[in-house]
Subunit: 305 residues, 2 copies
Amino acid sequence: MSKSASTPTIGVFDSGFGGLTVLRELLPLVAGAHYIYLGDTARLPYGSKSRETIVRYAVSSARFLQQQGAELLVVACNTATALALDDLREALPIPVVGVIEPGAEAAAGACAAEQVAGQAQGEASDSLSQVLVLATQATVGSLAYTRACAALGLRATEKACPLLVPLVEEGWIVDSESESAEDAARASVTAQVLRIYLNEALHAAPHSRALLLGCTHYPLLRPEIERTLAELGRPLRVIDSARATARAVAKILSLKQAAKLGTSAVSDEATCEFFATDSVQKFERLGSRFLGRPVEGVRLVDLGG
Amino acid sequence: MSKSASTPTIGVFDSGFGGLTVLRELLPLVAGAHYIYLGDTARLPYGSKSRETIVRYAVSSARFLQQQGAELLVVACNTATALALDDLREALPIPVVGVIEPGAEAAAGACAAEQVAGQAQGEASDSLSQVLVLATQATVGSLAYTRACAALGLRATEKACPLLVPLVEEGWIVDSESESAEDAARASVTAQVLRIYLNEALHAAPHSRALLLGCTHYPLLRPEIERTLAELGRPLRVIDSARATARAVAKILSLKQAAKLGTSAVSDEATCEFFATDSVQKFERLGSRFLGRPVEGVRLVDLGG
């Protein structure tokens, strides 16, 4: 939990556990940092709520992390990035990194690679510049991905998938270590839901060549999504924004570090503190699934409400 | 929206829309009242959160209704009743009616009827005194139904069904007026989820004779639940607490009315005001499905958070 004076402190914020998939990518890439993660679990989910409410929750969460010493804020939540990034940048005097621009850049890179492959096979280039984005209702309603992709010359089609977050939070996902018929029945519900959403999405955007996971819960469904796409005969390349976001943070920190001549070098060992606005037991239990390692010592914080 | 001085004002509170199924039963039964309904939609769902958080949200919601003039509070939410009824009764100087005791009483009545029918067929009486309760994670964790049923000589088995609320809120339910294949595919997901939950529940409590819907969202799934029970060869009697709760309110009001000699008679026309803590548009759109009539003129209220 302790940090030296020269270690950068990075605040990472999400409405719940999904943002831990971003922290999971940050830990190896920006190893010499102190992380403070906040899951606003008492007020989740954000994805089905209005812009005004999401901005209010995001700003109070971000202010808490700054008060705890964060020198850089990662908004590891697509909904909060889509609806509150400008408000967060206005409210805080520290750099704020969202997940949408890095995600759109990763999608542009994937589409460019597909375009090269498609052109080699003689396909028209226009049909290759489309990306399908799966996200929450609020993210889709904001059109943030459509705008971020358009700025990179990509046409995005956004699809709201509101049942995926509860299915992931309930753990109704394929567990390759389980042989129980009950677990298989639960996973088949999620597969059926994915088939419905992906069918509708591919119907709306038949020329898509890449699929962007526009919610930090969705990486846990990546194998099922890839399997469903293959079953539907549309094996799109699947991209998530977690790694791209971690790279964006690393870049900002290296610039900051270069500017701070004379400060000692960053240490190699990352340290983490965790806060949640609701049950810390549940956070420790579910969070481990998202972080891919044990989540311990979570502390409860009351942000009002 | 207006009310005369002698009209009783009844506050009805839920985390979201489900409580409108209780208001729907109150309107014809306690017609001469002024209703103020609050859906705490900015902080929903309650069902997956901790006791401390649920109590905090419930008390602030109830205080708002009292400030608006409520002389009696209906907690039209199983989760808030299960975890916060005592705190609400302590915090407010007005009568507070929850949904769990009326629901347990309705279940006891149904089980007694089944017992008579079963004894006529020569079954052992012990096997007839069990009731299965479907509810949210938080309600089940509180054991409130187990206690309320035990007080009436009933053995309750509680089953958490966390995916049912999101499925209802998304409208993935049978629409008898729709012939679209997409709607049928969505309804079949809900049927599959119900089969998983009911299979597990009946396995845990094989001698149940009645099924109590322990969440105000579930009455919208009643036809599917009855169909699934029939398919599983277990056509249990299905009970919801909405009507029983409305009867409990009517009883309290008639007692209060009898005590207030000299006040004028209750008028026959109910009036309603609606408040929500998140998007009023969404509340008007979804709420109508729960109330069974148009929900209009919803006002936004900020309870902090």
